[in-house]
């Protein structure tokens, strides 16, 4: 097995598919997970707008979703993909289970970023008469930006590695190539090439996250 033009094209397609599955799922996971993370912190007992029952229920639901192994979630959620986007196979179809798996994870990552925030700064904002919304928009989000960016690198790389399982359900991407060639056809060379490419993608995402975080952080100077 050599890296001929056909193989290289296949790998290119694989990279692209991995990229867009990850990008779309990350986007949707943040659209759902970021507000959930905010709610987890804000409605906590010592939060700025305590609603303990809501916080507890949300926490349990998130833990439940997070404890289902992704492969199982994948098979449970694919029928939903059929309803929403009309198909249960291929790369687009996996975006829905990926989002369902990643959103609660993102919520926890965002939550932990917010929890790092100094309580004194929030108290100061409250002492100036800031409303709950103002504290979320003007304190929580901008003040934890560096930490949120680091968390995003963590979440996106995790989503990328989940996306590699799309191969089991007819999805595409580098993971599918690795599984199809390495696992089903005993062609370890292509499997290793795909794995290396995945590792490189993870490195790039992580490094980008680190740099953006550092660059945005006004505390270091």
């Amino acid at each position: 097995m050599k890296l001929d033009a056909v193989t290289i094209n296949m790998l290119k397609t694989g990279i692209w598919e991995s990229f867009y599955m990850t990008a779309l799922s990350s986007l949707f996971a943040y659209i759902i997970g970021l507000p959930l993370g905010i709610i987890l912190v804000v409605t906590d007992e010592g939060g700025i707008r305590p609603i303990p029952w809501l916080q507890k229920i949300l926490g349990v639901v998130i833990n439940l979703l997070r404890s289902v192994p992704f492969l199982i979630l994948l098979f449970i959620a694919l029928p939903l993909s059929k309803i929403v986007i009309g198909t249960r196979i291929g790369s687009p179809a996996i975006v829905i289970p990926l989002t369902i798996a990643a959103a609660p994870y993102v919520a926890r990552v965002v939550e932990s970023s917010f929890r790092e925030l100094d309580a004194g700064v929030i108290e100061a904002a409250q002492s100036m008469g800031a409303s709950t919304w103002q504290i979320i928009w003007k304190v929580f989000l901008p003040e934890s930006k560096p930490s949120l960016l680091l968390g995003a690198a963590l979440a996106v790389t995790t989503i990328l590695s989940y996306s590699a399982m799309a191969g089991f359900t007819g999805g595409g991407g580098l993971g599918a190539i690795a599984i199809n060639y390495g696992y089903y056809r005993y062609e370890p060379f292509l499997m290793w090439v795909s794995v290396v490419l995945l590792v490189v993608m993870v490195q790039i995402i992580q490094e980008a996250g680190n740099r953006l975080s550092r660059k945005s952080d006004k505390r270091i100077r």
């Binding site: 003007k138 003040e143 006004k218 505390r219």
Partner: protein
């Protein structure tokens, strides 16, 4: 008489914790007049921070009420309380600046909250930064400033909305003595030029002595005593008051751990303590043991006090007391103090 700007009425605060309820404040009654610098002093854990947070209702009291300009905070809606808070700036031990905003945007922050147009807010912020002496650091981030500079930014920020009151919770406790002095001077200047009422929370008597007109001493969740700073300095009524003013040495002396009687002598701090004592020893031909001596600068007025142990023999003790009477030095017997 004018309505006090802040009236604290029968206030109590209880925290529910895993180990049962904690009474952080009990039976608190205080009045702060407009334009004064009012101190609240107490040891760590006495309830000072809880009290100051109850004043602007960041902490909702379990019992009682706080009246701001005669208006009951207990009766207000959340929105009304937020509006009232804008009349009460607050500064903190740890400064609590927004780390991701530069200095000028920190000062603009409270104005942003009330929807003041950006340009207007920036102008106001620059004015305030000039006043605290930091106009050249407007673009710096908090991490690039010293502790004293951070507190100046925090003061500018607290003043942005033209508050009537500034609450300071241990505002100088993280600063070195020199910086502490400068920040206290700045607060005093703000009080005098802008007429802002200032409430100073601290565990350090020196802070109270430097700028406060009146002081409340808080001990174990209750107010131990309230009064003019000079009066409390000369004549503390409570055990905690004596401890805060004279320190451990004073308390030991007052506690009468040694045998015999002790007295506290109060003198004009411009005179030195030595002549009084040496003349007394000469006149009475009796030795005394100095347990504690200090002069303090209270609001620019020097004041001194000393705790001495009287001679063991009753005769000698009598002679010393007669001598003090004859030269009209105020004194007080301190053996009766409960520790």
């Amino acid at each position: 008489m004018e309505t006090p700007i802040i009236q604290i009425q029968n206030l109590a605060k209880e925290f529910k914790t895993a180990n049962g309820p904690v009474r952080a404040l009990q039976d608190i009654n205080l009045e702060v007049s407009a334009g004064e610098i009012f101190g609240i002093i107490g040891l760590s854990g006495a309830g000072k921070s809880t009290l100051v947070r109850c004043i602007n209702y960041l902490e909702v009291p379990t019992e009682g009420d706080v009246l701001f300009e005669g208006q009951s905070m207990a009766a207000m809606t959340d929105a009304q309380r937020r509006t009232t808070r804008r009349s009460m700036g607050m500064i903190f031990q740890q400064f609590n600046l927004l780390a991701q905003r530069n200095v000028i945007r920190n000062v603009c922050f409270p104005l942003e909250l009330t929807g003041v147009p950006k340009k207007e807010a920036r102008e106001r912020a620059m004015e305030l930064l000039k006043m605290v002496g930091l106009e050249d650091r407007a673009q710096a981030y908090p991490a690039q400033l010293s502790g004293g500079q951070k507190q100046r930014v925090a003061i500018a920020r607290a003043l942005a909305t033209n508050p009537k009151v500034i609450l300071c919770d241990e505002a100088t406790s993280a600063l070195d003595p020199n910086t502490t002095k400068q920040i206290l001077e700045l607060l005093k200047e703000i009080n005098q030029t802008m007429g802002v009422t200032i409430i100073v929370i601290t565990h350090e008597m020196a802070v109270i002595e430097a700028i406060c007109d009146r002081v409340a001493i808080i001990d174990q969740s209750r107010i131990a005593e309230v009064g003019a700073v000079s009066e409390i300095f000369l004549n503390p009524q409570s055990a905690i008051g004596r401890k805060l003013i004279m320190g451990d040495a004073g308390e030991r002396a007052a506690g009468g751990t040694g045998s015999g009687r002790s007295i506290r002598i109060i003198f004009d701090g411009r005179e030195s303590a030595e002549p009084i004592i040496s003349n007394m020893v000469l006149a009475c031909k009796a030795p005394v043991n100095i347990m504690y001596a200090a002069t303090r600068d209270i609001q620019g007025k020097a004041m001194g006090q000393m705790v001495v142990q009287l001679p063991k023999d009753a005769d000698g003790a009598e002679r010393v007391i007669d001598y003090l009477e004859s030269i009209k030095i105020p004194y007080e017997e301190v053996n009766g103090y409960e520790a």
